[in-house]
């Protein structure tokens, strides 16, 4: 395989979250820094491929206006709608419904965020308690990280570096964080809570 094709494959694999590809790129960069001629060539190829083929995310206005959900996600959304109350959300037994949302992709997460935003106040204490029911330390921290990112732009980029399971927990956190930021903005809080760029535009 030619060097260019290898560089292309490595970059694409790394963008899909392949940790081995990321490590290989990192190692190539280190070797190039140490002066290896072969590594320098390879690194130049990698960088030129990245520059020529930037990640193009689909703009929001080009997405379909409605994503259909079914099965587990539809059940979870239905249940959230029917029972959303302070007691319900504080009950650890109901955590499973919130964690079913990422199976529906962005549609499930955004619907979840909208329903959660209409529910009881997502205070720091409530969010902390929600995360406290996650037994795995690493997953719990990933959940809190997702909450703090919420609907900010850098959130989707963070997802590239996570394993599928961590990504799921991270996205649940993002849905909760988005819901909280919607509540803050509705109450007249700073728009930057929801999205800093949006606050810049309107501020």
């Amino acid at each position: 395989m030619k060097l260019k094709a290898i560089a292309q494959e490595l970059v694409n694999r790394a963008r899909e979250g392949d940790q081995n590809a990321m490590a290989l790129i990192r190692r190539t960069s280190d070797s190039a820094g140490r002066g290896s001629r072969k590594a320098k060539n390879a690194y130049t190829m990698i960088m030129s491929y990245i520059r020529e083929h930037p990640i193009v995310s689909i703009p929001e206005h080009a997405l379909p206006k409605h994503d259909k959900v079914s099965g587990e996600v539809a059940d979870a959304i239905g249940c959230l709608c029917d029972h959303m109350s302070a007691d319900w959300i504080d009950n650890p037994q109901n955590l499973g419904y919130v964690f079913a949302l990422p199976s529906g992709g962005n549609a499930g997460l955004m619907a979840g965020a909208v329903i959660l935003a209409d529910g009881p106040d997502l205070t720091d204490e409530r969010i902390y308690n929600l995360g406290a029911h996650i037994l795995n330390d690493n997953e719990r921290n990933t959940f809190y990280e997702g909450v703090s990112v919420g609907s900010k732009e850098n959130g989707s980029q963070r997802g590239f570096t996570l394993s599928p399971e961590d990504k799921r927990v991270f996205n649940v956190g993002r849905a909760v964080g988005t819901a909280r930021s919607i509540q803050i903005v509705r109450k007249g809080g700073d728009l930057a809570h929801h999205n800093e760029c949006m606050a810049w535009e309107l501020g």
Partner: protein, 124 residues
Amino acid sequence: MAWFKKSPPVADYGVMTPKRMVAYKTLMTLQSLKTEEIIKGAEAFEKAGLPEYGRMLRKRADLKNAPKDVREQRKAILRELLKSSDPDEVDEGADAFDKIGATVAADQLRAYARGLRTKKQVKG
């Protein structure tokens, strides 16, 4: 008599190359930029044969020059739209924000409208 001299041709005239797309996205989203910098970017896009992109950038630069009461009014509208349960109304608001160059606000509203539609699909 230099006025008749042709300006040098711009490479990839009228083509939205990946490099230009990155530059455009940066100009549209970077908050640390001054309005003069955004206008310079707009001029560059117009010179490169991409007037639509230049126009959007000029609108974005204008956002910051809007009077305070207009900006407050826009914020109030956005808050109201984020309370709405009618996805069509939210989408209309998003289109209006798009027209004034507030593309991120528009995208956030569209995402909210999609969430409302998914909720409606499940609960009717």
